[in-house]
Structures are given as C-alpha cells and as structure tokens.
Assembly symmetry: C2
Homo-oligomer: 473 residues x 2
C-alpha cells in the first residue's frame, strides 16, 4: 500500500484522534489550564507510543523543572545507525479563546463543517503535529520496514503561545539528546490551497528602548521655552532620522551584512498571486503601502530588515494643556532582522546612532529587551529544503513555491542551539483564523501534510545530509 | 510733606495692615477656602474705603454670579473730569502652601525676618496691591488735594492663582465701568534689588494637539512592519520638522508679523547683568542653552516666539516589548507668541504645516485648547511706559531698565477687552519664592513701590494720554 492510499484509508481514525486531542483545552497562557496542558502532553505521548515510537517522554521545563509547562519528546531510531537524524518541532498548547461568543461551535468541541475542522488548535498546532504520526505510519506501510529511514525525533513544546519562555533553556539542557541533522518545523502556513508553498525563513528581532533626559525637573515653558533643549524635540529628531527619504534605515552598517535576495528567489516570490489591495484592506481601507524603495511589499515584509517605533511617551499626556518642557522622553523600538544580520551589531549601531545625534544638554541612553533573535533562513538550494520541496511536490502533485514569514518565533533558537538547518513543512493557511475565534483547518490539507511527511523521511534519507546525531560543537 | 516722607512715616501702619490681610488664607484653588477668599475681598474693600475711595464694591464672578470667587472694584474719580482714567490690576487670592513642613514660619502667620516679610501672598500679590493704597495717600498728602490727579480704578481679582477662569467674562460684563486710558499691572518682578526694572511685555500662547491615525487597529509589526506607514514615525517626523537647523520654527508665515526687537530695547536688555550659567543651573547643571540662532537667551525667552512639544504618546508605553504598529499617536504642543502674532494665524499655519507633511496612508488632525492668547506688549517709547519709568526712577533714584516675562497671564485679556495700554509697575523679585514655601517680600521694596505709585498718578496725568474713561469701540 503506498503512502497516499494508507493516509486515505486511515483518515477517519486520524480525525477521531485529533478531535479527542482538540477537546483538551491546553491554553498555556491561562494559569487555570495548567492541568489541561499537562493532560494534552500526556495524550500526545500516549498517541506517539501507540504509533510505535519506542521512546516517549514528558519533559518538564523551567527552573526549577516543573515550574514551566511540559513538552513531549519522542524518538524512533532508524534501522541504519548512519542515517541522518531529523527533529520535528511543533507545540501542543493553544491560544486563549476570547471572545467566546463569536465562536460558531464551542472551541473545545471540535466540529466538522464542509471539509473543515473547527476548534482551537485545529491548525495551530495540534493538527499539524498529529499529521506526523499518520505520516510515519504511512511511510512504514509503504516501505514495509519496521523503522523509519531516518532517526526521527519529535519535540512538541507546551508554551509556544506564551512566548516560549523556557524553550531555549530546555534546548540547552537537552542538547545532546536533541542532536540532529535537520529540523522540520510544522507551525507555519502555505500561500493558499491552490498555491502550496514552503516557508524559507522568518525575520529576527531586536527590541530596544531609547530614554532621553534633559532638565532635572519639568520646566515651565514660559520661563525656559525656546532657550534650552527639549527632550521631546530631541527624541522626535532621533526617531524621525531613523529612516532616509528612500525608506532605508540610517543606522551605521545596518545593511552591510544583509543577505541579498537571489534573483531566483525574487522570481519565485513574484510568481505568488499577491494582491496588494487585498493585503492593504487587512490593515484598514485607506492605507497606502510604504517602505524601502526598490522592493515589493512581499520582499519588504519577508526579506528586508526594518526599524519600527512601537511606542513613545513623555511629558504631559493627560487632558488639557500643561506648558512644560518635560524632563524626559522615551520610545520603544523593534528591528526586524534578516539573514546575515547579527542582533548585537545592530544594537551597537543603534547606540552609536543615538550617541551621535543627541544634542548638547540632552542625555540619551539605549537599553535592549534581550540579546535579540537572529533571523532563521532556509536557503532554497540547500539539500534539506530541496528534499522538503520534493516531498511536498509528490504530495500535492504540483510545483511548490516559496514564501517567508515576517515575524519571529522559537525556530531561530532551534537552529542556533542545535546547529542544524530548518525545513518548514506545514499546511496551515492564513485563512485558518489562528489566534481568533472559529479557528479551523482544511481537513484535506492535513492529509496532504501527512503524505508529505511520509515522503519527507525517504527524501531526507537520500538527500546527502551529513549524518551523525550529535550537536554541532 | 512729600510722598517719600509720607510713605516712611506710615510704614509701620502699612505693614501692620498687610500682616492682617496676609493672615487670611485666601487660597482660590482650595474649595475649603472659599469663605477665606470672600473674607479677603471684604478686608480689601474696607481698607480701600478707609483710604478714601468713594466707591468700593465686591464683584461676584462666574455664571451664575457667585459661582466664581469675588473680585474687588474701587474707584476714586479725579477732580478734573477731563483727567485720564487709570485701572490698577492685581489679585487678592494666593497660591496653596504645600509642602507645609518646609515653611520656617506658618504661611498665614506673617513674620519679619531681617527686613523681609515672610508669608503666603507677601509678594504675590497682596503686598503689591496694598502699596497702591499707601501710594495714593502719599500722593494726596504731597499735593494737598482731596482727589487723585487721575481717575483711579482698582480691579483686584480673586482667581488669578486658579487660572482666572472667570476674569474675561467679568471684564466683558463690566467693560463700561472699567473703561480707562491705561492699565497698571502690579503682579510682576524687577530684575533685582540693585537693578530696578519694569516689565514691558508677556508672551502670548497657543495650545494645540496633533492626532495622527493610521491603520484601523494596532498591527503586528512582523506581518506589516516595513511595508505600511507607522503613525509614530509620521508624528516624529512632523515634530522633528517643526524647527530648522537654525532653531527657527518652520510653520509658514510664522515670523512674518513678529514685531522685531528695536536696537534700543536690545541694548537695554544687554545691559541687564544676566548670568547664563546661573540661569542654566536653575534648569539642571548639565544643560546647554539652545534656541533660535542670532538671539541671546533673554531675547529668546522674552521676545521671540517658540514652538515647544509639551507631551507625546502613542503605541505601547508599558513594561516590556510589544511589536506593534500602533493605530494612533498624539502630541501636545504650545506656541509662545510675541507682539504682532495673531494666535488664529499661527493656528492656521500649524494646520497647513500638518496637512502638507502628512504622508500617504496617514491621517492627521489638529485641535486647539482655545483661541489662544495674544502677547501683551508695552512699547518702551509709549507715553504711559515713559511716565511709569519716570515714576520708578524718582522712587529708586537711579536708571530703570526693562525686562519682559516669558509666560502669559490675564494681562493680555485686560489690554484686549478694555482696549488700553499696559504699564507694569511692580517690585517683586525672582527670589521672592512665590508659589513656593517661605514666600517673602522685601519690605523696603514695597515702600519704594508705594512711592513710585504716588508719583505715577502725577506722571500719567501729565503724560498726554487720551482722556475719556470709556471703553474703546
């Protein structure tokens, strides 16, 4: 029986299982649901054990262990000890469900509706985690073997929807057991049902705050106005100067290390049936696209670095007027980074920019929300991505295009701490309403995902990946 | 007996009276002190009646009358019906007294301390109101006449320290009875005890708020960042663009109607023994002077118009990072105006500036805190100011220099609604700690003020002012 036939034959059992899992309200952000998150982890471990994984474990997280919420680890060694090791990443926790009254059916009572399965977590991410269980069974059925052609590991965390606060710690702690040659991430989206695609990167992130101080107290603008520097003016000038007339970020060396888009990738992006008008409508009807000159909107949000002011405040912000020169002013900024950029270099460049453009009589300091996150990037020509694309093309029977994501996730930690390349294999859609009421998943796409996963292990086994399931030094 | 001898002979009685008045805690901002404000008005009316004013009245304020706090009106017609009419402005309410534990003696138990009188209101403004009573008595004693050489009116309000909310209404209501040829304001300061001076103007004021909106909700900066306009960027650019590299305000036509400083006035200002270092120390040690190129610090704060940002806010201002493009951003601004500038013209120029510099995809609106206040200005060459200067020079026996004030007060309303020029005759000092604990007044200066007031009525009677005690049309 080939993989496709196996998947189709086992579809109804797969969805029955998924519905059972979706009924567990594993909302990691809700302290009242800690038991449910644990129950969800236990459910998944049992299900993977039933699938045949010889190793299934609940991994405690946090310091002390157990203060965080549990992850699930499973491992199924390849028969060939020289086969590559693959780690599948996903998460079993889900988003909160408010506003509850906008759901057409209760979020934890999954319901079928015209080929779609409604329920919190159907797409993000339980459906996409579980298709791997069906996929590996299909792969074994098709090959007639007792073990997968690669050493298959799964790490399914329980805090992704809460910002993965203990995930990097877990990766460091379990680095040896998580060692792998490639990481498969199943937590993103495709362009559309008609245009199947793979994500090839997510932007990195650096959070910063600029604090500007002037006089040692608020001054009366009648007595001092026009004759001493005003921290709000200084901050406005610092922020306004962050971009030049071409929409480029003015920080020193900001673009020096940016990996340019290849002509091949720009070509592939341009083939996506993108409607700028529809995209702008999502941001409010009257918006105009704007940004770095020389790039399309998709290139701007996926493949170009940015500087955005996320908040600013200072002086009198209440009702009425208060004629002061305030003693201080503040702004929060975030930089989206792309492949090649080091967060630490951008941080240093911001400090240099602020120091250089702070007027006399004003002091300005920069603090950072953390060390920042590097962009994650899967070059489209790499053996792992090419293997993933072949698996997807076999499942979908058509050409697979490439997308990226503009945001940032724990994927960068995975790639960095484990020292392995990423392959994004996922079948979610932007229309799945993840994080919103009435989350759904296309049931047919989940089956395609299972089929692609079944092919993926063969494709990766023969892709010429470096073997050896140990972490990089 | 000449005026000086009279003042000196009656000094102890004057200070005994002043202490009695200062003991009444007429804090207009404190609702618990409404009765005391009324008691203070009654005290003053009785004192002026005893001085000889044939008309003394308590004027209710507010709508309905009595909802505000009472002013005192007094009138003493000149013997000559063709003599000019003079209106003295001051206030009998006082500032709050917190922090109480910093006072060396109780604020409403006035105490003498080495030639100074300590107590709330000693300088601001009871002492400076009451010297007019002594002054008019001295003037009559010196001339041997029964009535002053000008028709003398006094309007002493009871809400100045609360922002004079009902003062313009009162002026409109009583415009006929307040008609005058010159207004004498005794509520400002001199340069110093050694450098007696007269104020010749206060800046005007226009309050504005800029509201910028972009997307119809906060957007995720990962999904949209770098490809749609950000309201915070737009606001920062609007604010940063308000000044050019020379520190000049960039609003269209902003300086077109500005009355330039005359060479004579610049000369007189330059003769003031101003220490920029000491002045900067008031604003915090590390400050640098900054502002419009080509002007001194005193010229900048007294005689040049400004644009100051008083507050701004938008987006995420709490703890931590929130990677959004916010839907809106706001700033509060104030413009200090000088003679010649119309608040309405500046308001129109700001609207034009904002409209012209708002990028596509962003909407920006401007609102104003009110119609604004014109600058008040007493040209140093005018007959009224020259008469005031002669009176001050006779009292102090030395040259009188000129200052201005950078802030704004109800004086502009007086001049505008009553249609008469202002003369600032006052003997307060910047070191009087008005609005702070341990307010004091130099007792010797109050006597000089009384003497100058005594001379002032003669000087104004012979200054060639237009006669006729009716309001301008």
């Amino acid at each position: 029986m080939d993989a496709r036939a196996y998947v189709e034959a086992h579809a109804s059992g797969f969805f029955a299982d998924l519905k059972e899992w979706l009924a567990i309200p594993s909302i990691s952000a809700d302290p009242e649901r800690r038991d449910d998150v644990r129950k969800s982890a236990g459910w998944l471990a049992a299900r993977l054990r039933a699938t045949g994984f010889p190793v299934t474990e609940i991994w405690e997280t946090g310091d002390p262990p157990g203060s965080g919420q549990p992850a699930v680890f499973a491992e199924w060694p390849a028969a060939d000890p020289g086969a590559p090791a693959v780690l599948v990443y996903g998460h079993h926790d889900v988003q909160p469900v408010d506003p509850l009254d906008e759901w057409r059916s209760p979020p934890f009572a999954p319901a079928e509706e015209g080929g779609r399965l409604l329920g919190r977590g159907a797409s993000d991410d339980k459906g996409q985690v579980l298709f791997h269980a069906l996929g590996v069974s299909a792969s074994l059925a098709a090959s007639g073997r007792a073990a997968p052609p690669v050493t298959l590991k799964m790490l399914i965390e329980g805090e992704e929807e809460s910002g993965s606060p203990h995930f990097a710690g877990l990766l460091h702690r379990e680095r040896a057991r998580l060692g792998c040659d490639v990481i498969v991430v199943s937590d993103t989206t495709m362009w559309s049902e008609q245009v199947p695609s793979m994500c090839t990167g997510m932007r990195g992130l650096l959070d910063a705050q600029i604090d500007v101080t002037g006089p040692d107290r608020d001054l009366h603008s009648g007595s001092f106005g026009g004759a001493v520097p005003n921290p709000l003016h200084a901050l406005a000038a610092l922020l306004a100067g962050l971009h030049d007339a071409a929409g480029r970020v003015t920080l020193p060396r900001f673009y020096d290390a940016v990996l340019p888009l290849s002509a091949a990738e720009r070509d592939l992006l341009a083939r996506l049936p993108f409607s700028e008008k529809a995209w702008l409508a999502e941001a409010g009807d009257s918006r105009a696209a704007a940004g770095e000159q020389g790039f399309t909107t998709l290139e701007r949000i996926w493949a170009r670095p940015t500087a955005e002011i996320n908040g600013m405040w200072g002086g009198h912000t209440g009702a009425g007027a208060k004629t002061i020169i305030p003693r201080e002013a503040h702004a929060k900024l975030s930089f989206r980074l792309v492949a090649g950029q080091e967060p630490a270099d951008v941080a240093a460049a911001l400090e240099e920019y602020v120091a250089r453009h702070t007027p006399p009589g004003i002091e300005a300091g920069v603090t950072f929300g953390g060390p920042g996150v590097r962009a994650s990037h899967s070059p489209i020509g790499s053996p792992a991505v090419r293997a993933g694309r072949r698996a997807m093309e076999r499942a979908f029977g058509r050409e697979i295009l490439f997308t990226r994501e503009g945001g940032s996730g724990p994927e960068a930690d995975l790639a960095e701490i484990l020292g392995a390349p990423l392959v994004f294999l996922a079948v979610g859609l932007d229309s799945d309403r993840i994080h919103a009421p009435n989350e759904k998943v296309e049931m047919g796409l989940l089956l395609k995902g299972a089929e692609a996963a079944a092919y993926l292990w063969e494709e990766l086994a023969s892709a010429g990946l470096i073997s050896g399931a140990g972490p990089r030094p």
